[in-house]
Symmetry: C2
Subunit: 147 residues, 2 copies
């Protein structure tokens, strides 16, 4: 098993602010992909779509202001059954976000791509909360021929 | 053991161009840190310095236009003995860079930070080759309270 891990600090935003951006359709649409629909409550399924395809995430854990965890229930074969989580805590003027995308079966090249791409989306989340403007798909940063 | 993996594609640059940016003091200074000194030949040690400290990398493998591998011989305890590598290949208009920082003993919070930070430096490498201007330390993108 292999994992993608990231850490960002969002300045002058509270853990509750970040939690809102992770648990509402409006929030998620503003940093990950504008084409986000579904049910963001525990047990619900959120559909994230991008020009080349997308992911369906089942919400498996919600701790307000602290933790969000999803299970991938549909999407590319390598993603199905993996888990994505965000742990939040206040640290001075920052909300620290510890991100995990755990449970990849193999270190395939697509995983290398997703690791870098997650970093850019997390920086989009940071930018959204700090400036009011994220860079969600389809206006996301292109990192390669795989977008 | 845990690994940091990334993939970027550099447009309109050849594998040889990217290799130059990974194997010369001028190249490395223009995307990772301006404070780069040392010997970039096989067996040499390159000293990378940042405001909070730095890393000494021993060059353990060089395959022109294809592969660069370093061993961390000094720096933060978590980094010592880990390996950093860059594999290059042409893919249409892109040079694909597969990056690995392998051999972390534990998934400590510092590893989460380094994973995100490596993504930003690889995007600096891409930007350097595509536009002539990277974002090396100390003008690098700040991602958190840990910089």
């Amino acid at each position: 098993m292999a994992d993608i891990l990231h850490r960002i600090g969002v300045e002058k935003a509270s853990p509750d602010d970040v939690y809102q951006a992770l648990t509402t359709i409006d929030g998620l649409s503003a940093w990950w992909t504008r084409d986000t629909t579904g049910d963001t409550e525990t047990g619900g399924v959120i559909a994230f779509r991008f020009p080349p395809g997308g992911f369906d995430m089942k919400v498996v854990e919600l701790v307000p202001g602290k933790r969000v965890k999803w299970e991938v229930v549909d999407g590319p074969a390598e993603w199905i059954g993996t888990h994505v989580s965000f742990d939040l805590r206040q640290d001075g003027d920052y909300t620290i976000v510890l991100f995990e995308h755990r449970g990849w079966a193999d270190q395939v090249e697509f995983m290398y791509h997703c690791s870098t791409k997650w970093a850019t989306y997390l920086l989009s989340l940071k930018q959204l909360l700090e400036t009011g403007q994220g860079a969600p798909s389809p206006v996301d940063l292109q990192i390669s021929d795989w977008h």
